[in-house]
């Protein structure tokens, strides 16, 4: 069982609010990722990190930002939430030599912006 945790599990928030989705892993993995997933749809990579102080944008453009100050922590922030941000956000990590090999996923944060 992978040790990667996301909080909160569910978040309902009003438009314009600033939010931070937390993600932590205790496996010592260098690589971490954020995916966005709409119900029944594929996962889209929005951010990833090779390690501390490394952050990169993924394939899907996102207004969110991320930081990687510690190996185990990779929070995602939305400065001003909008209804279009409503989605499930999945955090993942990996240790493989190639980016994205054998991802370990958290349970996700279901975000609803009213």
């Amino acid at each position: 069982e992978a040790d990667i945790y996301q909080t909160p599990r569910y978040l309902v928030i009003g438009t314009g609010k600033k939010i931070t989705l937390e993600c932590s892993q205790t496996m010592g993995h260098d690589k971490m990722y954020w995916y966005q997933q709409d119900p029944g749809m594929e996962l889209h990579l929005i951010h990833y990190s090779y390690g501390v102080n490394s952050t990169e944008k993924g394939d899907l453009s996102s207004e969110s930002t991320v930081s990687r100050i510690r190996t185990e922590h990779f929070p995602l922030t939305l400065e001003s939430a909008r209804p279009s941000h409503t989605s499930q956000y999945l955090c993942a990590s990996s240790v493989g030599g190639s980016l994205n090999e054998k991802l370990f996923f958290g349970s996700g944060t279901q975000l609803s912006v009213l």
């Binding site: 594929e42 990169e56 993924g58 394939d59 190639s98 994205n100 054998k102 991802l103 349970s107 996700g108």
Partner: protein, 117 residues
Amino acid sequence: GESVGLHLPTLSVQEGDNSIINCAYSNSASDYFIWYKQESGKGPQFIIDIRSNMDKRQGQRVTVLLNKTVKHLSLQIAATQPGDSAVYFCAETGLGGSNFGNEKLTFGTGTRLTIIP
């Protein structure tokens, strides 16, 4: 462009029967393929992977088949159980992506597998 797609969005199988979930990919440079299982309310969970130098790989009750000629991947689940009900995603990665040295996974849309008691 690159795409990974599944042939069927839903699949219903009688408990105890075998399931076959199919996946097509378009990137001929793909060299690593993964199947993930996502149960309701959970994140995707790794099931099995296969590299392009193999045609078949077996796990516990699961087998992945790779046909590079037609760019087709399948996941076979033997003797399906109620716990197999989930959405199954195939994903692929390989050299030759838009970012140098960055082989990123591309996920398909998923197939929802329902086990009928």
